[in-house]
């Protein structure tokens, strides 16, 4: 609801954000002098995963952190597995590394297809929900669901089941698929690539609200491949760190209106993660098909970066990238000679960042000599994007103040959905105090 107050303040209160994962609300106040205060109130209950992994061994941690999200469990497993393998200096078979990229492609395909076709497209096409949109655009929804199903299948074949995979282990996989098991993916991948190319062209034609800001972008970058599990943490303004050194440039802080910690750069400025950041910073590493599709849209790098609503284009480009890369991996697949490398624990800090569908996901574990976790920090992408969302809402709000209330509310929600926030992922408390009655 919107509440004009006696002193001229206007208040937009979106009590339950829809078409996002998890529970949150928006509280936006515009003072009579035009000052805007935006608060993304994340009230979903804290989930304490950093505490749940304490006292656990690395492979148990993989199973536990996968439970953080039903949409991006692979990302949680990949950040953790790389962190432990880096600390323990585990030699990884190159074919295992490739298979992990295929697993990650599967997750990106599922997650991006869900967001593009079911969560975000209705905003642009003028529908309140995917269901309403489907009544007029059934083919589009069917296409999205078909691609998502293919992503599920990839995760299922490589990871052992479609959500919360069970086969990733420190050292590799408990079971690597046989080549014939991947054969069923060939034809669907071929068809999905054609559909994804059409999708890039389609979403590039969607009319966007006016939006112009210069975000600080952060993503992994790798010299020869599109960022997923390897590379350095980089930013559009010169940050360049090893994947375990996130804490050297960024920190988390508690804000009173959210159950999720917010992350900021050392100078306090918000930053943007996810498809827009990756496509902007690693455009040269996109699969040639994806790069060509993006070029063909005619959307300039500046427009893609500066207009928050163009994220649907970046996400569609990444969907095409993931499908094209998956097709190549499947075509060339050779099972690992050593699917599961032996390893010995050692004490130290295990830290790594990988690229979840929504952006950089950082894990840090303090591990004792037996390999048991003594302290953990998990920084999901939505926690990191929260401050950028609030910042962009404050910038964008003046554009909608003259619109009818429903239309203004819709535009504000559309902006939030541009980030594809996963609130369930973000609700971690770093610190938990338990007081016992004596």
């Amino acid at each position: 609801m919107r509440t004009p107050t006696a002193d001229g303040e206007r208040h937009f209160d979106i009590g339950q954000l829809t078409r996002v994962e998890g529970e949150g609300r928006l509280d936006l106040r515009v003072a009579s002098d035009g000052t805007v205060a935006a608060r993304l109130r994340i009230f979903e209950a804290p989930r304490y995963f950093e505490r749940l992994v304490i006292g656990r061994r690395p492979d148990e941690v993989l199973d536990i952190v996968a439970r953080i999200c039903g949409i991006c469990p692979v990302a949680y497993q990949m950040s953790a597995v790389h962190a432990f393998e880096d600390l323990f200096a585990v030699p990884i078979d190159p074919a295992v590394r490739t298979l992990r990229r295929l697993l990650y492609c599967g997750e990106w395909i599922e997650s991006h297809a869900l967001h593009i076709f079911l969560l975000h497209a209705p905003d642009f096409l003028g529908y309140a929900s995917a269901l309403e949109m489907a009544r007029d655009h059934l083919e589009l929804v069917g296409r999205g669901l078909g691609i998502k199903k293919l992503g599920n299948r990839i995760v299922s074949i490589v990871g052992g089941r479609p959500i919360h995979p069970v086969s990733p282990r420190v050292g590799g996989f408990s079971r690597a698929p046989r080549p014939h098991e991947l054969d069923e993916l060939r034809a669907p991948l071929e068809a999905a690539i054609a559909e994804a190319r059409e999708t890039v062209a389609l979403v590039a034609t969607l009319e966007t609200p006016p939006s112009d800001r210069e975000p600080r972008l952060v993503s992994l970058r790798h010299p020869s491949e599109y960022p997923m599990s390897d590379g350095r943490i980089t930013s559009s303004d010169g940050i360049d760190l090893a994947p375990g050194d996130w804490g050297e440039a960024f920190h988390e802080e508690q804000v009173p209106w959210s159950h999720a910690l917010q992350a900021r750069a050392a100078d306090g400025v918000p930053y943007l993660l996810g498809p827009t950041a990756r496509v902007s910073l690693a455009r040269e590493q996109l699969h040639p098909l994806a790069r060509a599709a993006l070029d063909a849209t005619g959307i300039s790098p500046e427009d893609l970066r500066r207009n928050v609503f163009r994220s649907i284009v970046a996400r569609a480009v990444e969907l095409l990238h993931a499908l094209a890369e998956a097709r190549e991996i499947v075509a060339d697949y050779q099972p690992p000679l050593v699917p599961l490398a032996p390893w010995k624990p050692r004490a130290g800090i295990a830290a790594w960042a990988t690229e979840a569908p929504r952006g950089l996901l950082f894990h840090r574990y303090e591990v004792d000599r037996a390999g048991t976790v003594r302290r953990a920090q998990i920084v999901p992408p939505t926690s990191q994007n929260q401050a950028a969302i609030e910042h962009d809402l404050a910038l964008f709000a003046p554009e909608v103040l003259d619109l009818p209330h429903d239309e203004a509310t819709h535009r504000l929600e559309q902006l939030i959905r541009s980030y594809d926030p996963c609130i369930s992922c973000a609700t971690h408390f770093l610190d938990l105090r338990v007081e016992h009655d004596r």
Binding site: Q16, R19, V20, E21, G22, E23, E44, A45, R47, Y48, L52, R67, G70, L114, L118, L119, S129, A130, L131, A134, R135, L138, V141, G142, L145, G146, K148, K149, N152, R161, P162, I163, H164, S424
Partner: protein, 153 residues
């Protein structure tokens, strides 16, 4: 030869009553488990209902927030959106289960033989077990699921 049966168990076992469906399928008698293909799917997404052979019968199991804790609902899957609307239920998922079924139905992927079996839940906190009311009725829920499998096989 009987029609194949597919069980889609929704929910997270680590979130209190939300794990009731997963606990139920794990507690099924071995004969019932052998007669069906059981999948723990986390949350119901429309594509899970697309692509099955026409003769496949599907049972979707989930906890229902808003229903009296421990009460059991057993209805055609196509009626789930209506139940959800009647209860004014909200979902923490980007796409609510009822919307997922309605979308699948628009695509012709929901059949008269598909059923939804739900159990009312009251506690969904991380790390909790089942609430007393749901714990007390879990056995009845398992029996209902086994009966439905028996009827279909």
């Amino acid at each position: 030869m009987s029609a194949p049966i597919r069980i889609l168990a929704c929910g997270s076992i680590d979130r209190g009553d939300d794990g009731a469906a997963v606990r139920a399928v794990r507690a099924l008698p071995s004969s019932a488990r052998r007669a069906a293909r059981v999948e723990e799917v986390g949350y119901l997404s429309p594509e899970l209902l697309i692509g099955d052979a026409p003769e496949t019968r599907r049972l979707v199991l989930d906890t229902v927030a808003g229903l009296r804790a421990g009460s059991i609902v057993d209805l055609p899957l196509a009626e789930l959106p209506e139940l959800e609307a009647r209860m004014g239920a909200t979902s923490t998922h980007a796409l609510a289960p009822g919307a997922a079924v309605a979308l699948a139905a628009l695509l012709g992927a929901v059949r008269p033989s598909d059923r939804f079996l739900g159990i009312g839940g009251s506690s969904f906190d991380v790390g909790d077990g089942l609430s007393p009311a749901v714990g007390a009725r879990l056995g009845a829920f398992v029996e209902r699921v086994a009966d439905r499998i028996g009827e279909a096989s």
